[in-house]
Symmetry: D3
Subunit: 325 residues, 6 copies
């Protein structure tokens, strides 16, 4: 077990990875935030789902799928816990069946992480949660640049007359200025729509968009370059909807879209974002009831791991810069 | 294929039972109610669920599970379609994610069946739906006697501060006088509770209650006698929560309780209710995502079939009485 | 490992039960019948199925499910392989997609067991196979008394105009005199029918019938007595359709019927038939594709084991009688 | 909801996509063909299957998997229902267990679509159905050019002595001149064979062939070019066997072959066929019993959607041409 | 939420039962034992398994299945947390792949609970673990009376030459005097054996035995009486192997035996043991990989709940007695 | 059916591929090795697994998944059974729960194949088995060059203090000189590690390593070239851990790692190794309990088929060379 900065996982060479309470990466479960740099936070809310439902069990599944993760990320050459003290802070309070109440409750619950300068990594939950999470982030950081991987823009105005579903969070967030559209980008959009106006939603709202077919055609390096340019050094909220991935790799989700991306492509994308200044992120729409082999949760846990690795790398660089200064 | 009175299933001797669009029992799908005695009606709503969720796919699964049903019920010696003209009327409109709106929408959608003197048999959906359905029934029939099979009383006042969940429908319905507690009975209640006051909920609200352990100990004939006495000839709304059944027989449900009843016991119970004057009924809480072998939906379809058989028997008796008169 | 008479399973104290090629009970796979008393024979045919299909994989699944079986049956106090030399003879040749050809091929393939005085225990396949198997048995033994556990009579005249499906085998067999209706009995019939005439099929054709509800009401000992009286000492062909069992215990079947029997009741029934003179038997309609937990195949393997135990007990009694004489 | 030409799906902004009877894309279920341009037609036949069986439930699963589809295809910029009036016409009559009778019945059932100038899109069923479907198409259109995506040539002469299995449909169709080999092409063939003569089957019978490894090596654009050249503007019957796709993307099929193609590649292939003059098409070999996560049916529904999009694009072009003329 | 004595579950009326880290019943996760009366302790060891393997994930599954449990047990009229302060103490250390090392490690890990007068309830793990757990119990309490529900005696001397498997724990424990055979009883034994000597194992070793068929025949009250007589007021170690239950109710286990008991019978048995003086208990052999619908883990969680209820009742009685004295 | 040299599969044109006892490719099951060139050998051992467990059922699943394989490999233009006489030799003896005993037993059981000049292809089992298999190979052939496809190096020194797990086999084998590190190579390594020293394990021990990301970036032809150079014409032991493959293609494994390779890439890799002089090979870590759609076992069976094809090609070439000489 390597030297660690603060809170770190149980040692797998002593206690086997299948043992113990299922926190993310077998981290300590702590509500308190003193001495914590980064917190894993569940948001088991799915009342906003418009088709399949069950993402309330997403945090449990991702935690279970994370048991195999080890502290050193060789692809990034980073020993995570030398640079970050991390805990699993449990779940935010939600009110199942009540969208507006839950939006309030989630925003309130998320606030303390930002106020304590702890970077939160949220495990959804359906995509509705990004709205209150962006709101909470903006309260501390001001409107962030949004980097959004998804097969849907989630910018619809309403669904069945309702304004708060998982098809509308970024529209709601935009209306209240919770993120900065001018430096935001959506990646991977694809699948049937209601009409051509849906395709224009991103740009109509001032966001940049890279569709799924474009990403297939132009490739990952081009896409990374576009993201970097768009963000232009600003602080970022990164939101990853697991339906960005192809159903072969992530069947356990609410509105799967065929023609998506492989696990390896997702890793390559996230690993390419090392120079982003990420203030918070979420991974949403994992539905374990539709994931018989558990591969969706496993991939989700690994994607969260890559996000955590990015944050550790950034912290390491900051420390190196401070040391040099 | 026997002589039929009106709308009836496709002939399985001509078109195999696995073929065709999945309506209940392969009945005609018709929205119009002229010439219809009984309608199967889906209510794909599950926003009231407090634990597992996904009963919105219940109507689809029950319809699929009903393909094997044949028109003659030998246990009751009734040739159903000689006495009833039946259609599958599709699904009521619901607004996923919005409890009050859906309650209104379901009550409005159900009204037309009662107004047209068509007996509706509703396929849930979570148990929240019984509240608007009882309200719609009462608007035509006045408050009905409720016969309720379930492992939970669903009489809680609120859940997480919310008043409209699937744990509260009968409390809400009572408050608005939508059924007649004094002639109502709940059967099969069991499983852990929050406190002894929960156990008293039924009686506090004026309903009779037979717990699961009582039913195990006293048996089906005693229970049937108690139901008949309680109802005392009044018009009945029968509500069947599939979690009344043991999880071995019905794993696909939202809040399963062990120590339940077998499929054979359920059949025996429903078959024993031939003298009830049923005005409407529902079967709720089938969650196909938790039903890998499909046995929950199969059993649910068969229970609906027994309910339909009861109604055909009643219609046959009425016709015989009229003929004699 | 006990003393054995001839062919017997691999020793589980030496080679673990999960190892080795999947024959029934890990018996030797031998086509030759010299030195063999009893043979397990697969009949992977399912073209006669009228609803779900896939019983062609039934023999594979039952063999796999039999790995846990051990040689001594304590409920019957019989050390099976002291009295019987048993092999797994592989599968009969079938022609998928071709009913008449397969019926011929199965009858031809089954003949050699009867001709060699080897008792065959057949693993289906759909219930169509009982027709050619009865024909082959009758060629050696004359028409046998049929003891038939099922939720369907399988006595229909035709299905979709076809005469050879799994709903018709006993009608076809009767027409050619392949069993002796006057000493035959069907047990467990239940579920919706096309009309009251279906209920009369058994008796119209001269068989006795005990319905499912009757068995539930009267119990196992009464049923066993009825079977014994009906058979009246004659040689028996025993056919067991796994849909006799309740779907909770046997979900993996083609036309499941709710309200069936438990595994324990099945064991009690078969164990009660020790005085029958069984010439051959089959266990049919196991569909592994609908058996996610494998419990159907496990139960089927155990029911075959009980049948084999009955045959061993008979052989032991015969030997004792010979010794005394 | 956009302006529509005739029959179109239920409006998902009003009734949620999980509600209602499961027709394809939630289209009206109509047997009558007046006012219809294109019909979705199930062919639930699987008696021709030589290995796994159960494609009789394919149409049900594809319909269920199609619920998420929306009317506008952004990859092709086509608003489908502005150009085509589409219904779900239910299933053709089949006779399970009887190959020759079913071939006749399917051909007869398919004829009326061609005779009414309605473009049929067939949902299988096993691949046997392409034979009668090609026959019916030829009766109206003359022998069509066949574009065939599959991992098997399905050109064997016989199987187990039988001539009508899902391994032989195109051989049978060729023998009766039901398609035009000289302008036909098979794409994606791969996997173990009986001998080198199998590899030559396509060319021996006068068809062109692109093997799976060739497609992997040369890519989609080259393949599209080859298809276009081969077809040379003729009317086309397009047949898509889901086992063309890799088992990771389409596990639910009867004779899966590893080393196949991704969902994204399938979309790219079908989207590239916009200039084909398609008279009819089928998508076959979806077996839901082997599709625990439902991704096979989801992909199949999307592939059908792409085929329908091609037909809408063609209709739009024709209309534009007419308008210009 | 009722008044509680000490550590108790999260309040389900505030935080929904699907939220939070998966400890047993959503109890606090604490390693420290001050202020604790009873601890739930996982023992994720399965190297002793002789057939299916995977019980190392049993504790995770049982914890997940326990989320629905509520604090008041109406069948026993006990408000658990008024009488007991309970924590989830996590898992004991095990060494997968190493039987002797794990036996030592488990015994050592269990010791501190007994030494601290905390009643431990262990979640297995395969049945091997009962051996070191009995050893640890005996070190504090002296040899306990064993009440053992199982379909196997687990008294074999060795398996494949190995002495430490899940078929041998009670033999090993007996050899070192870790429990008191003269007041011990095994209940539910059934299934095929190697020979009649296996049937005699229990009595040869001085234990009493009630076979599965006996329990079926004589019923639960008779069995309870026999247990009480045998135990005769001594301190008890209760061990419950989930394969005591029928595979329909508990498919997810390592060596399932058909012909078992229902969930309701298990509840009735455990609820009938209120006067036992239980010093420790275990529930073993839950294998989630074979439990697709999760009903095994759900039942296991409920059986643990009944054991905890018994302990709360005993504590309440003791307190009442003290108060009266 | 083509001309065959010796032992060959049952003829699928006569007996359907779903019929018969499940040996690999429906080959004869023979323990004797006379007249045999190549033997398929199961090694159902999984006590070395450090996370998920159940590879003891791997040989059964791979055999079942191999039923579809046909004798001619068109990608390599080889008619396998013209050049090789092949049997399924059943399983080696293992002692579940006992690592050292099993290592001895496996080495002893494997020896006879090498001593008889029969090429063994081993079906695991967890990766621990490669250690005794390499030892047995070295006893006859001297230390072989190892070509190892895996996402883990399996070169750790110990796990939980244990030296014999599936994370350590190649370390143990190296210590006893059982293979030749200087001509060995590991391909596909990826996933989180304990620290940077883990990444250096391969090279520290003298092996060459190609990581997963390198293989993604450089491609298959470059990798094949590296393998060939490394091996440099020496005799090879090829070990293929199914977790080399991406979880979308091979979910059924013990320690899955995302970001892996497709089935098509695996085929391309193995097909590119035709000039290797393979003395033995294994395919390990298939866990059917985590493989609900069976695609892992199907792919594994196909990869074994490609290995067998390589051996047939080599034999053909040798024969041609001999003939020329």
């Amino acid at each position: 077990m390597p030297r660690t900065k603060g809170y770190a996982p149980a040692d797998a060479m002593v206690s086997p990875r299948f043992s113990g309470i299922r926190t993310f990466m077998r981290l300590p479960h702590r509500e308190e935030l003193d001495g914590v740099d980064l917190a894993i936070v569940g948001v088991p809310f799915d009342t906003g789902a418009t088709y399949r439902v069950g993402a309330r069990f997403g945090p449990e599944a991702i935690r279970s799928g994370s048991a195999l993760l080890r502290p050193y990320n060789p692809a990034q050459d980073i020993q995570i816990f030398e640079h970050l003290s991390i805990v699993d802070a449990g779940d935010l309070r939600v009110v199942p069946g009540y969208l507006p109440e839950s939006v309030e409750s989630i925003a309130a619950g998320a606030a303390r992480f930002f106020e304590s300068s702890v970077i939160p990594v949220f495990l959804g939950g359906d995509h509705t949660i990004s709205w209150p999470l962006l709101r909470a982030a903006a309260a501390t950081h001001g409107p962030l640049a949004l980097v959004h991987f998804d097969s849907h823009s989630d910018l619809w105005d309403s669904y069945f007359g309702g304004k708060d579903t998982h098809g509308t969070p970024f529209r709601r967030a935009l209306e209240e200025g919770a993120f900065d559209a001018a430096h935001s980008i959506q990646v991977g959009l694809r699948g049937p729509l209601y009409g051509p106006e849906d395709l224009a939603l991103s740009r109509d709202q001032g966001l940049e968009m890279i569709t799924g077919p474009e990403l297939h055609e132009r490739g990952v390096p081009w896409t990374l370059e576009r993201i970097r340019e768009r963000v232009a050094g600003r602080r970022v909220y990164l939101s990853f909807d697991i339906d960005f991935v192809d159903p072969a790799y992530a069947p356990g989700t609410g509105t799967p879209e065929v023609g998506g991306f492989t696990g390896a492509q997702c890793l390559q994308l996230l690993r390419g974002l090392a120079d982003l200044d990420i203030a918070a992120c979420d991974l949403v729409e994992v539905l374990p009831a539709y994931d018989p082999a558990g591969i969706t949760a496993l991939l989700a846990a690994n994607l969260v791991y890559e996000l955590v690795s990015l944050l550790a790398m950034r912290r390491k660089d900051d420390a190196a810069r401070s040391a040099r200064a």
